[in-house]
Symmetry: C2
């Protein structure tokens, strides 16, 4: 298959690394000519260009720009495409992307490969990045079956675990398991760091161990990613934050009331429920 | 030194394992005779008994019962002790313990060795459990200097990192870095698990990955420990919870207002501040 990739970063580069050895022809587009040169020299792609016209012959194009550039990328790309070309994106939120792109290009399948590393850029790309990881496709009722079948086949070739979801369902699910934890965790760091008594704050710095390290990890992560999540998944994050506050307040109320039996019941529940999210 | 240990679980057993090879004579007390037998057979102690009278000759006694049994343990122990015997406890909260025990036994030094494993009981005890970990001593102005010096020496022999703190400062610091994270994390599990749409909940179960795993870890931990923290450190937990809610609400407000610049500034701050708690 002749596959285009717009945006040669961690995800785009890793897609190229997995798909090219399977016999696909890979055409890469990056705004930066140095990235194009690197992609060709290091064998990521068969051809690369800073011009979207390179993709005129592509049968399928992975859209891997930042979420903020997704719509404009598609608008600039469309004039070069054959009508049968399949477009898919790799954005981490889906409803706003699908709403923006499906009307422009009916032969579009929203997608979210849920893999990554702490690094970014083409140099961070790696083979088998997607193997064993979830890859969610978010088709609409109007999505053409051949496009969906082509995507399902590629997900299989990447050895990823294929899930189908409504775009809004996807966004709410990732709000629970990915975006809400960032805000919950960031607020923990923010509140702790504002302890007004410097003796207590310094002691907290000294005594912090694995519990604080784990609970604060995602809240101390990449700030741009956190803002991007909030901006593109705003409604689901606000909604889950509101529910979260109710559950936090309920725990605080039990402690206030010294209702240790009910607190024990609640913590037994969270102990059990966590296993449904976190498999060993 | 003739050292008594009341409560032969993970902490008491690990103290014995480190101190006996250094030449100390170890006298262990456990309510369960099987634990006493195990402690003797496996060489944890020089002598063991279910009777506190075993400690009549002890120069220093580590109190390692559950927090709920600390005061009554001391009350039962005192009739057997010489006045010069030093008492110290290993409880994870300090103000309530110090307030309860110091009036009963002036030669008392509150302590908190901050080490542990997910396991409990004598069979989980291990050598060098405390090495490199914080060991907080919480003396009062009235604490006798020789008692404090003896404890400082033992902490050094355990190769732990010695800190001194006011009992209330200790409790507020551990509220920030240990007890508040449990409640923050438990509320995340509780809220997520109550997603009413089963399709979304099942998808969240399927997609949860390292971010949810880390943020939810301590909230899905031992329920008894969580209740114990809340019961014995209630005031500090409620206070830090209230501050936490203000910081969480501030983040939610920025998202509500779509103030992405201010959200970016906040997340840059949490990114930087986390490094003061979590050293690499």
């Amino acid at each position: 298959m002749k596959i285009g990739i717009v945006g040669l970063g961690l995800i785009g580069g890793s897609l190229a690394l997995d798909l090219r050895p399977l016999g696909h022809q890979i055409l890469g587009v990056s705004r930066r000519t140095e990235t194009c040169d690197q992609a060709i020299e290091q064998g990521f792609v068969d051809a690369a260009s800073s011009e979207l016209s390179l993709l005129a012959d592509a049968e399928l194009v992975f859209l891997c720009p930042p979420l903020s550039a997704m719509r404009s990328t598609v608008e600039h790309l469309i004039p070069y495409l054959k009508p049968e070309t399949i477009l898919t994106d790799v954005g981490s939120v889906k409803a706003s992307i699908v709403q923006a792109i499906a009307p422009l290009w009916p032969n579009f399948v929203g997608g979210h490969p849920m893999a990554g590393t702490a690094e970014s850029g083409l140099s961070a790309a790696q083979r088998h990045l997607f193997a064993g990881c979830p890859y969610v496709l978010t088709p609409l009722e109007t999505t053409p079956t051949p496009a969906l079948e082509a995507m399902a086949s590629l997900v299989g070739q990447l050895q990823a675990k294929l899930y189908y979801a409504d775009p809004e369902h996807h966004d709410r699910a990732v709000a629970w398991i990915s975006h809400l934890p960032v805000m919950v965790s960031a607020a923990l760091i923010s509140a702790s760091a504002h302890e007004p008594d410097s003796a207590i704050l310094n002691l907290a710095h000294d005594l912090a161990s694995s519990g604080f390290r784990d609970t604060s990890r995602v809240g101390g992560g990449n700030p741009e990613l956190g803002v991007m999540m909030a901006e593109y998944n705003r409604e689901a994050i606000l909604d889950t934050l509101q529910t979260y506050r109710q559950h936090l307040d309920a725990l605080a109320d039990l402690i206030q009331q010294e209702n240790w039996q009910a607190l024990a019941t609640q913590l037994q529940l969270t102990n059990a429920k966590r296993n449904q999210f976190v498999k060993n």
